[in-house]
């Protein structure tokens, strides 16, 4: 059970934060189909950054010092670098969509193609293979928070709470949850956030009140890029074992689905991400899943095919969408280039 909670969070967190990235862009009026590309780029830059730190001998120095908590600061640094990279990458979308008034769907598709192409081109030249790995160790040895780091030895019984939330977890989970809350409050309760959202509903009215619509939309896309880049780094560390191969297993597109699923609102998005994460987790580990701790793998004993469980997350999403889409409401001005003369 503790495993289920822990693993669900691992899948849900990148989805949650990247879906929120989508909210910032779309609420300012720009369709962001490029979440996948931004994640891929962020993951690549994050792993590259970690590799540079390995090359500088920082990781080994931390290990020698004996205090593995210092590693968490280095992970945080890599995440920040990814966020900046995602932000810079998103400027391409902002420029095309805002300054050139281009078709936002096509612009996003272009970025989704550009990111894996550039990443694979560079990875192949530098690493001589299609996958950029950490030069030494893996993400579990470097970044995972384990029992020993809290000062307990291996035989100590942590209990459900400890096993689910303190043992074998990554800092990224808690960092992202806090960031998710802060950014949601920022979007709903601050003057900036409300102005940003108004640009996605009726930009002409916003402009009449002295808001610079283009600046707001730039801000929306750039925040979106930063969050998506960070989400890419989180994905690389927690599920891809700190490697970058120009692919994030479609998580960017899934995040897009979670965003629409969550009706462009933070709280339903968090719920949607957790639901999707749960089924993703079941699909990945149903045959070793012991829900109530009696040593019986309940789902495996039903005898359904593994392919059925793999289809579940997508099937559930479609079914829930079928029930909720009647009330679904996208930002009104989303996808329409801002034209000051139009009323």
């Amino acid at each position: 059970m503790a495993f289920l909670v822990r693993q669900t969070l691992v899948y849900a967190i990148p989805l949650m934060i990247v879906a929120l990235a989508g909210v910032f862009s779309e609420r300012s009026g720009i369709i962001n189909l490029a979440l996948e590309g931004m994640m891929i780029f962020g993951a690549f830059i994050g792993v590259t950054c970690m590799n540079v730190m390995v090359g500088l001998g920082w990781f080994d120095a931390v290990k020698a010092s004996g205090n593995m908590w210092t590693m968490q600061w280095l992970l945080l640094l890599a995440m920040m670098v990814s966020a900046v990279a995602g932000c810079v990458f998103s400027l391409l979308l902002a420029f095309a969509a805002i300054n050139l008034k281009a078709d936002q769907t096509i612009g996003g598709t272009a970025l989704n193609m550009l990111a894996p192409a550039i990443v694979l081109f560079l990875v192949r030249i530098t690493a001589k293979q299609n996958n950029l790995l950490l030069a030494s160790g893996d993400s579990a040895t470097w970044f995972m928070i384990k029992k020993s780091m809290w000062g307990f030895d291996k035989s100590y019984k942590f209990g459900f709470f400890g096993d689910a939330f303190l043992n074998k977890v990554y800092l990224t989970t808690y960092f992202c949850i806090i960031l998710f809350i802060i950014m949601s409050v920022f979007l709903y309760k601050t003057r900036f956030g409300i102005r940003l959202r108004s640009c996605g509903e009726n930009p002409q009215a916003s402009a009449s009140l002295g808001i610079n619509v283009n600046k707001m939309r730039y801000a929306g896309v750039m925040i979106s890029g930063a969050l998506a880049g960070l989400g890419g780094c989180v994905f690389a560390v927690t599920t891809a074992n700190a490697s970058a191969n120009g692919d994030v297993a479609g998580f960017g597109f899934l995040a897009l689905a979670v965003m629409i699923f969550g009706n462009w609102k933070p709280l339903p998005i968090a719920g949607g991400a957790l639901l999707f994460g749960l089924f993703k987790c079941i699909a990945a580990s149903y045959n070793t899943l012991d829900v109530n701790g009696d040593g019986v793998y309940a789902l495996a004993s039903i005898g359904l095919d593994s392919n059925f469980y793999r289809m579940l997350p997508y099937l559930i999403t479609l079914i829930v969408l079928a029930f909720t889409s009647k009330s679904s409401r996208a930002p009104k001005a989303e996808g329409i280039p801002y034209d000051p003369g139009k009323r």
Binding site: Q104, L111, A117, L122, I125, L254, I260, N307, Y314, K326
Partner: protein, 432 residues
């Protein structure tokens, strides 16, 4: 009314915009090659020059001179034919995206429809006994079955969109992954896994292979073209492949076959449907303004489903023709990744500005880049992904080439508006 000069024609301008995008895309590829070459010590100046030449002319490459190590160029029928072979699925997935786009739908579900087509085609081609049904008929059934499977799979997002108002992008993404898992599941249970060639694990039989259902010592099993002694043959399956239609003589040593011609004919067929028939007009009307079309008495819901079905049929045809070529093999554990050819179809359609005839040329252009990229990987320190960078840049530019075109039109309109032409100009504005 004055006739437009050659450069003012709408089609010519679209073509020019595409050509300029292509040129800028290729040049940015060259810039990346030069920058990477300068910063990477293992690449010499000669290596950079080779890289640049191969990006443009890889298809004319005839391998390195054994003595001097320099690249030799000339007509290479193998690469030329392979270019057409790889263009075949790209034209069809491009067509798929273009048809949906005309109806205002973004068909990102082509990979899933492609897989559905592949699955149905392989099943039909390898299950119907060629000992009792002629091979050409099996080919036809398998091809039509593939198209039908793609169409049905494309219907799902269409139905979800028209009946339940679910965003088609999300529905397409979900059905893509569903299709990937379903196809894996289907082949996992099927008896079509290649067991005759011991080295091939995880692949389905080629459709061109001859498979005999035999009984040896009372046990039913399968055998290849050489039947073991004392065995009773129950039925023969397989041995189905697209006719070469003489293209193998034209392009010696290449994989090209009649599928390319089928793809081109389908593109022309869709051009006629879209431009000359009521159906095409209705589909396009739904694309420009769904509600206005409804007001004019066009059944918008029916047309959305129909458009997605046609789009799905084309993506299914792509998978179908690719597997029917006889020399391709399908890796059936596909649930972890989606076929890239479906996504490249988006680029093909966008470069062609969703014109079915344009799709033929942009499909060929994409596979030309693909072949050039392959040469880069084989012969230099660079790799094929540079061509993906070029394609991405071209798609990025095509996002605003439409805007540039309208801007050009707008400028011209201002100049030529006369009292007599004022009404016409106004009418145009209302339409736009």
């Amino acid at each position: 009314m004055k006739k437009d000069s050659f450069f003012q024609k709408d089609g010519v301008k679209t073509l020019l915009a595409s050509l300029i995008s292509i040129l800028i895309g290729m040049l940015s590829g060259v810039v990346v090659i030069i920058i990477v070459g300068i910063f990477n010590e293992s690449i010499s100046a000669g290596g950079i020059w080779d890289g640049i030449r191969l990006v443009f002319l890889g298809i004319f490459n005839k391998a390195r001179d054994a003595a001097t190590g320099t690249l030799m160029f000339g007509f290479n029928p193998t690469y030329m034919g392979n270019m057409l072979f790889r263009a075949m699925p790209l034209i069809l997935t491009g067509l798929s995206v273009a048809i949906a786009y005309k109806t205002g739908l973004f068909n990102i579900g082509a990979p899933g429809q492609y897989l559905a087509g592949t699955c149905a085609t392989l099943f039909l081609a390898l299950s119907i006994p060629t000992s009792s049904v002629p091979a050409w008929l099996v080919w036809l059934i398998a091809f039509l079955g593939g198209m039908l499977a793609g169409a049905l799979w494309g219907c799902i997002p269409g139905l979800l969109k028209s009946l339940l108002n679910i965003n088609e992008v999300i529905a397409c993404i979900m059905t893509n992954w569903l299709s990937a898992s379903l196809v894996t599941w289907f082949f996992d249970m099927s008896s079509l896994k290649n067991v005759l060639e011991g080295t091939k694990t995880g692949y389905i039989y080629k459709t061109s292979m001859v498979i005999n259902d035999v009984i040896v010592d009372g046990v039913q099993t399968v055998a290849g073209s050489s039947i073991p002694e004392g065995a009773t043959v129950l039925a023969t399956r397989g041995g189905v492949a697209t006719s070469k239609m003489g293209l193998d003589i034209l392009f010696k040593g290449s994989q090209v076959n009649g599928g390319f011609i089928v793809a081109v004919l389908l593109a022309i067929l869709f051009y006629v449907i879209m431009e000359k028939t009521t159906l095409g007009y209705q589909l396009k009307a739904c694309g420009s303004n769904r509600f206005a079309a409804k007001y004019a008495g066009i059944q918008d819901r029916r047309n959305i489903v129909l458009s997605m079905a046609l789009a799905g049929a084309m993506a299914g045809a792509a998978g179908s023709l690719y597997s029917l070529s006889g020399n391709t093999e399908f890796f059936w554990t596909t649930y972890q990744s989606l076929p890239a050819v479906g996504f490249t179809g988006i680029a093909v359609a966008l470069l062609a500005m969703n014109n079915p005839i344009g799709v033929i040329f942009s499909g060929i252009f994409m596979s030309y880049l693909n072949i050039n990229g392959q040469q880069l990987t084989n012969l230099t320190a660079y790799n094929e992904y540079i061509t993906d960078v070029i394609i991405a840049v071209i798609v990025y530019l095509s996002a605003f080439s439409l805007i540039v075109k309208t801007w050009l039109n707008h400028k011209r309109k201002k100049k030529t508006v006369s009292p007599a032409g004022g009404a016409a100009a106004h009418k145009e504005e209302v339409q736009g």
